[in-house]
């Protein structure tokens, strides 16, 4: 895209985890995009194919990549509230196809696909959000977003504009939480050791709220935090940026569940 259309049509790729476990992140994403002047579309979708890709099942990964590209073909941009799924679409879709036509299509698709927060700051040039959150938060840099897409300053920039919010950095905020997709289940004991170090760093920060940009990592950390009985709430960064923190935090006790 050389120029941004006046009211870009943004296809929201909710990601399968948000679709299934935490729709409120999808609505927060849509709100942020709409407030930034986008028309938000949610084409029928399932998964980007990363679980298959990382399990060595390239055939299924290709099928799902084609399915995603077809579903979002009418959009100016594709945006996902996840560095991991975006990394799959941006970095790995093009690796899946040797056929020149398909490879070209995958590269063109990748060029208009963005992670939510970096899309707001880097493409739409959003510098602040209209949101209030009273209190301290700490932010975990999820690996794919950080190292595949270079997302680090963008969420911090927008969090700084949230009224009343104070960001306190934890130690080793750029170290993996131990999720790693199917790794968490396949090598549960190792994953547990890694997430236990992570939750110690989170506690040590003293912040009562943990934020990150990937629901997979968040479910892993939240699940460990509640198992350890720690009093730390966990949310996706989009929920705070959109000012939509009325739903209970991830793995937190329910109030108005439908």
């Amino acid at each position: 895209m050389s120029t941004t259309p006046a009211r870009p049509r943004v296809g929201l790729f909710a990601t399968c985890l948000v679709d299934l476990f935490r729709p409120s992140i999808g609505f927060a994403s849509a709100k942020l995009l709409e407030e930034a002047g986008c028309e938000v579309l949610v084409p029928p979708q399932t998964c980007c194919g990363q679980p298959a890709f990382n399990s060595g099942d390239k055939v299924t990964a290709r099928d799902l990549a084609l399915q995603v590209m077809d579903a979002f073909s009418g959009c100016d941009y594709i945006v996902a509230p996840s560095g991991s799924c975006t990394g799959q679409m941006v970095k790995h879709f093009p690796e899946l196809f040797d056929e020149p036509q398909l490879a070209m299509r995958a590269r063109a698709f990748a060029a208009k696909t963005f992670e939510l927060v970096s899309f707001l700051t880097d493409v739409l040039k959003v510098t602040s959000v209209e949101a209030t959150y009273e209190g301290r938060v700490t932010y975990h840099d999820s690996c794919s977003g950080l190292r595949e897409l270079g997302i680090q300053s963008q969420p911090r920039k927008l969090l700084a504009s949230v009224q009343g919010l104070e960001l306190v950095e934890m130690n080793e905020n750029d170290v993996c939480c131990g999720f790693g997709g199917t790794f968490a289940a396949k090598y549960g004991e190792i994953s547990d050791t890694i997430v236990t170090k992570k939750t110690a760093n989170i506690s040590d920060s003293g912040a009562p709220l943990l934020l990150a940009g990937d629901l997979g990592c968040l479910m892993n950390m939240a699940g460990k935090i509640t198992r350890q009985g720690k009093e730390i709430a966990v949310r996706h960064v989009a929920e705070v940026l959109a000012g939509m923190c009325d739903e209970p935090p991830i793995a937190g006790p329910g109030k108005t569940r439908k």
């Binding site: 909710a14 399990s55 060595g56 199917t182 289940a185 479910m219």
Partner: protein, 477 residues
């Protein structure tokens, strides 16, 4: 393979490692020391990122012309009075070295640290031929006393605490005073230095590895921090260099490029304390040096990697940065990987060298966090190469049946959005209802791998897509 791999038992190895308090204490040093030191070294050198790219390109160039540079190297070693031996396998390499030692009537052989010698099981071969092999790198010396293998490619004894080393020294160095103080690392170092001094002087043959082989001069280069390599190669009558074939670089200038990224990536030093070049045997005008100079070049599966998707791995210069930055290595240490090379580089190299049937766990035991690739001085795409192994395993039906079956069921639904929607809506609304009070599950059938260690957050209710469509319909009304 001389060293019996325990990589197929990776999960059991990891379990034991996670419950080994001494190991866990020792691993604390890896997580912090190495990372901070590398970071500081990189920050002091603004062109570091450019050097990584140049180093990558240089190694790629060498791999494309490996035959040319190996032949040039051999010619120049011969011209300097040395002899080059090519070994296709571990067995050939061991046999060649043992024969050289025997032909000189050797009784004692000193060794500088060499990972390829671990790979081919050289110490066992030397001992089996009735000679004594003495490791002279402090870390290697310690693990040799313990009958262990290195747990890290540049810090072989990093899995040990200083109390464990003290115990080993008291057990083995029985000729020394029992009442001596060994509570400080420097005292351990001094004692090892004293014991090793006589071994250096007694040795008939010295064997060193090589960080680089320089084609234009026929030189081999080693870097050490202890100077043990210098004594190993200059005191005995015979010097044998053992190196794998991908260590060759065209010129001295190329070697200096790689030296600039090597120590910074490894230990955070600008340069290692000793960088030693050796070119052929002692010349008449030299004050010292060996009378005989041999180089044993080991293939052992590497040439089979050329031209495959694993060729990138042959760029590796063995700095250890990938394992220093790996959360899995930090958790379990090096021995759990079950063969010579641990961490991310081992997860790629081990299946290449011992077969994916035995090494198959290793490329799977990664979160793909990508930190290894981000620090690799020659920019090896380690997660991508691990994924290639997973692809090979999947193609050959080596992936565990439960995982294959799960993937198949999931793929069926993921490829049918209509069915997917029906199934997920039913499942999520049910789960949300079941978990409505606590907001999480402490255990759930089919999710044991997850809930054994952490709670599973409950879904909020209906799926996002269903709720979104409902909202769209309501707005239109």
């Amino acid at each position: 393979m001389t060293l019996h791999p325990t990589s197929p038992d990776f999960k059991d190895n990891a379990h034991r490692a996670l419950h080994d308090p001494e190991l866990q204490k020792a691993l604390g040093h890896v997580q912090h020391g190495f990372i901070y030191k590398r970071q500081s070294a990189v920050e002091r050198l603004p062109e570091f990122e450019n050097l990584r790219e140049a180093a990558r390109d240089l190694k790629n160039h060498v791999l494309q012309h490996l035959d040319l540079y190996l032949e040039t190297y051999e010619r120049n070693v011969t011209a300097a009075g040395g002899q080059v031996h090519f070994a296709r396998t571990s067995a050939e390499a061991c046999e060649t070295i043992v024969n050289i030692c025997k032909s000189h009537g050797a009784k004692s052989v000193t060794k500088g640290k060499s990972m390829v010698s671990e790979e081919i099981g050289l110490n066992a071969a030397i001992e089996a031929a009735g000679m004594q092999a003495v490791e002279t790198d402090l870390g290697e010396y310690i693990i040799q006393l313990r009958g262990e293998t290195p747990s890290h490619i540049i810090a072989p004894a990093v899995h040990l605490t200083k109390e464990q080393v003290e115990g080993d020294f008291r057990r083995v160095h029985t000729h020394l005073d029992d009442a001596r103080d060994l509570s400080e690392p420097v005292q351990l170092l001094t004692e090892a230095r004293g014991v090793l001094r006589q071994k250096f002087l007694d040795a008939d043959v010295g064997i060193t590895g090589a960080n680089f082989l320089v084609a234009e001069t026929g030189s081999s280069i080693i870097v050490t921090n202890e100077g043990n390599g210098d004594l190993t190669q200059s005191l005995p009558r015979v010097h044998i260099v053992i190196a794998s074939i991908e260590k060759v670089v065209p010129t001295l200038e190329d070697a200096s490029l790689l030296l600039r990224v090597l120590a910074r990536s490894a230990t955070g030093q600008d340069m290692s304390v000793y960088t030693t070049l050796s070119t052929g045997p002692r010349r008449e005008t030299d004050p010292d040096g060996p009378e005989h100079y041999h180089v044993v070049l080991v293939d052992n599966g590497r040439s089979a990697m050329l031209g495959t998707e694993f060729e990138d791995m042959l760029r590796c210069i063995r700095c250890g940065a990938c394992m220093n930055h790996c959360p899995v290595y930090h958790a379990i240490g090096g021995h759990a990987y079950g063969w010579v090379y641990p961490g991310p580089m081992g997860a790629v190299l081990t299946p290449s060298l011992i077969g994916v049937e035995k090494g198959g766990h290793l490329p799977n035991a990664s979160t793909f966090c990508g930190r290894c690739e981000s620090v690799c001085p020659v920019k090896i795409p380690l997660p991508k190469l691990m994924r290639h192994w997973r692809e090979r395993e999947f193609e050959r039906h080596l992936t565990p049946a439960v995982q294959r079956y799960g993937l198949k069921v999931w793929a069926f639904f993921a490829k049918n959005p209509g069915l997917y929607s029906l199934a997920t809506r039913a499942a999520m609304t049910t789960l949300a209802w079941l978990g409505r009070e606590k907001g999480r599950f402490a255990s759930l059938p089919l999710a044991k791998g997850w809930t054994e260690y952490r709670d599973l957050p409950a879904p909020q209710g209906d799926t996002f897509q269903a709720q979104w469509r409902k909202r769209q319909r309501e707005t239109r009304r």
